[in-house]
């Protein structure tokens, strides 16, 4: 009991609150990455593993260009372009060469490792916030939150508009029912390549933002990012369903994906604040995310199970 009291008194809620803005900033940047994952995962129905490589490519391209003196917006556009290219390769591997989607993603991811090493001419490159005009940085968290929110908002508007256009709707149709889409005259191969390419473009862009935020690009910065992206997408969906239920439209779904990214990073911040043994960080994060996802599902089940319906029926008819 004494141990518990000592432990609880050593946790300072102020420290947790003060750390939140930084976690929010990083969460929004990963939320932008999750928007990319949403496109392939929800609209095309497969988990695109290329993103682990594309994320680092975006970061690498941005840092190398900034160090060479390019203006930051140009470096970010280049990161977007690099992502588009990587996505196109995956798409072509799948549609032209007939390689299954997940495998195409893995193949591109593996190749991007070498490409990233070449771009960085090494495994790691620093971009010093004191020497370059970075637009998001851990040094200035508040302005980073604003910038990242602006990016996220603009991207959500663009995506919302795009998926309402004819081409965008064709992409959604391809993912929903490819056979019917082809029967309607949609070139599903082209749509697939386009969607994967777009998705990786967004991931590359967010990689560029994160590299600036943390002040360096590292060959391993993308490892595990598909997991974070998927977690953000699903957390966002679960949260959106729980809060808004039936009135959630596509734009709000996109918004909630970014919220999902923020929540994931808030959970990591919480786990760190709890001063648990540091080796358990990943396990505890997974447990908390799993609880988060399980609670609405279990609540829904407890309200809607056949057993309960039977009991209710029995009470009514007794």
């Amino acid at each position: 009991m004494d141990f518990m009291m000592a432990y609880l008194s050593s946790l300072s809620p102020i420290n947790l609150l003060m750390a939140i803005p930084g976690n929010i900033a990083q969460g929004i940047i990963w939320g932008i990455m999750a928007l990319g994952v949403l496109i392939t995962f929800r609209l095309l129905n497969f988990a695109d593993l290329t993103v682990d490589g594309t994320f680092a490519t975006g970061g690498a391209v941005t840092v190398v260009l900034i160090l060479a003196g390019a203006p930051v917006p140009l470096a970010l556009v280049a990161a977007l372009a690099a992502g588009l290219l990587a996505g196109t390769v995956t798409g072509l591997l799948n549609t032209v060469l007939g390689i299954p989607e997940i495998l195409s993603g893995i193949l591109t991811q593996i190749s991007l490792w070498s490409v990233n090493l070449l771009i960085l001419s090494g495994a790691n490159k620093a971009v010093n916030v004191d020497e370059y005009p970075l637009i998001v940085t851990l040094r200035n968290v508040k302005s980073s939150i604003v910038t990242a929110l602006v990016f996220a908002a603009v991207l959500i508007c663009i995506l919302y508009w795009y998926f309402g256009t004819e081409q965008g709707s064709a992409i959604r149709a391809t993912g929903c029912n490819p056979h019917m889409a082809r029967a309607q005259g949609i070139n599903i191969d082209f749509m697939k390549v386009l969607a994967i390419s777009l998705s990786n473009g967004l991931v590359g862009l967010s990689g560029g933002l994160l590299a600036q935020y943390q002040g360096f690009a590292d060959i391993k910065m993308g490892q595990g990012s598909i997991v974070i992206g998927l977690a953000a997408v699903i957390i966002g969906e679960v949260l959106g369903d729980a809060l808004l239920g039936k009135s959630m439209n596509f734009a709000l779904r996109l918004g909630f994906v970014v919220v999902g990214g923020v929540l994931y990073y808030l959970v990591i911040g919480l786990v760190m604040w709890l001063k648990m043994p540091t080796d358990l960080l990943k396990l505890l994060t997974a447990v908390i995310v799993a609880t988060f996802l399980a609670v609405p599902y279990l609540r829904a089940k407890s309200k809607n199970s056949f057993a309960l319906a039977g009991k209710r029926g029995a009470q009514n008819h007794a």
């Binding site: 102020i14 930084g22 929010i24 090493l117 090494g122 508040k142 760190m272 960080l281």
Partner: protein
């Protein structure tokens, strides 16, 4: 109605934290002290909080952290609290950890490994930062014209192995060899740097060097097999992935009778013949002493030169030497083999 209340509460909490942040980041006021029993802020009984950001669980990094903590506890006793965080190999998590340190206003940040140091540099320009287990500070921090001091709130210790002396060690033990193969992980910047330096030193001594790189532990065996078939001697820099896979390397090189010179003691204990070793624990201890200087004597990290390992020893692995039939000249200390 309940859902709307939940959303409003969440928004209010976020807004509150944002305003708290704006209040804390400009002024130099520190929030209520985290340990209720801390003494007053008079310099005599001042209590220090030190944040330690370690990149990954790894014997060398763990030893450096232990040495660092020992040095500070030796000098400050119970007047120092450590907030020890480990990024578990995720470099973006280093940014999360450093953000937490900055927002809870620690007195000093110890960054163990390159990505941790880079994240700490970005996180703050005011809180003193000490790096350790970083080989080259100039490249790590993106500072051109590196002169030994950073000129800002960063200093630390470098684990740069005494590479020229290691090349001499290789020459002393294997003067007749012609080809040297250097195996390392392409994801580690420190390894690439050591590879560059040792290639220069070995080529000066008359050897032909070739690189054999792998991207992760799955490729270690095949790359080592190729290296063993093409080289007379193999050199392993202080590479984290190599250090975790010495068993595989030993199983390839022993039967092939290709001797291995290792960059540090842990790797040598796993698969090497001999090494010129630094102790990461001592390196961490030196970092702790530098930290004491900064905290209590108000030394300025901007002018503190990056320090190197205090001493190194010639060591050999008796079981590997016996299995290969190699006898070493005197002057080497024996290490216990790890497998």
């Amino acid at each position: 109605m309940k859902k709307k209340i939940a959303v409003l509460l969440l928004a209010a909490a976020t807004a509150l934290s944002l305003t708290a942040c704006s209040g804390g980041s400009n002024a130099s006021k520190s929030g209520p002290s985290s340990s209720a029993s801390s003494a007053s802020k008079a310099s005599a009984g001042k209590h220090y909080t030190v944040g330690i950001c370690q990149l990954v669980q790894h014997p060398a990094l763990d030893a450096a952290t232990k040495g660092f903590q020992k040095a500070l506890t030796d000098k400050l006793g119970s007047r120092v609290t450590f907030n020890m965080q480990n990024a578990s190999g995720d470099s973006p998590t280093c940014a999360v950890i450093c953000n937490q340190f900055v927002s809870s206003n620690v007195d000093l940040i110890m960054a163990n490994a390159t990505p941790a140091l880079q994240a700490a540099q970005t996180a703050t320009s005011k809180i003193p930062i000490l790096g350790t287990s970083v080989t080259d500070y100039g490249t790590a921090l993106g500072i051109s014209n590196w002169s030994g001091t950073t000129g800002k709130n960063i200093s630390g210790t470098s684990d740069l192995a005494p590479i020229e002396q290691q090349a001499n060690l290789l020459h002393e033990l294997f003067p007749k060899a012609k080809k040297v193969g250097i195996i390392y992980c392409s994801a580690e910047p420190n390894s690439k740097y050591q590879d560059k330096v040792i290639k220069k030193a070995l080529t000066k001594l008359g050897y032909t060097c070739k690189d054999y790189t792998f991207s992760d532990s799955n490729d270690v065996q095949s790359v080592t097999k190729t290296a063993a078939s093409e080289s007379d001697v193999i050199y392993l820099p202080t590479d984290n992935t190599v250090a975790s896979n010495t068993g595989i390397i030993k199983n390839v090189c022993l039967p092939a009778k290709v001797p291995v010179i290792a960059g540090e003691e842990g790797i040598c204990a796993g698969c090497g013949v001999a090494t010129l070793s630094i102790s990461y624990y001592d390196l961490g201890y030196t970092t702790g002493e530098m930290a004491y200087d900064i905290l209590v004597n108000h030394a300025n990290p901007a002018t503190m030169k990056v320090k190197f390992a205090p001493k190194y020893t010639k060591e050999y692995n008796p079981s590997v030497c016996k299995a290969m039939g190699i006898t070493l000249p005197s002057g080497f200390k024996a290490i216990k083999a790890s497998s």
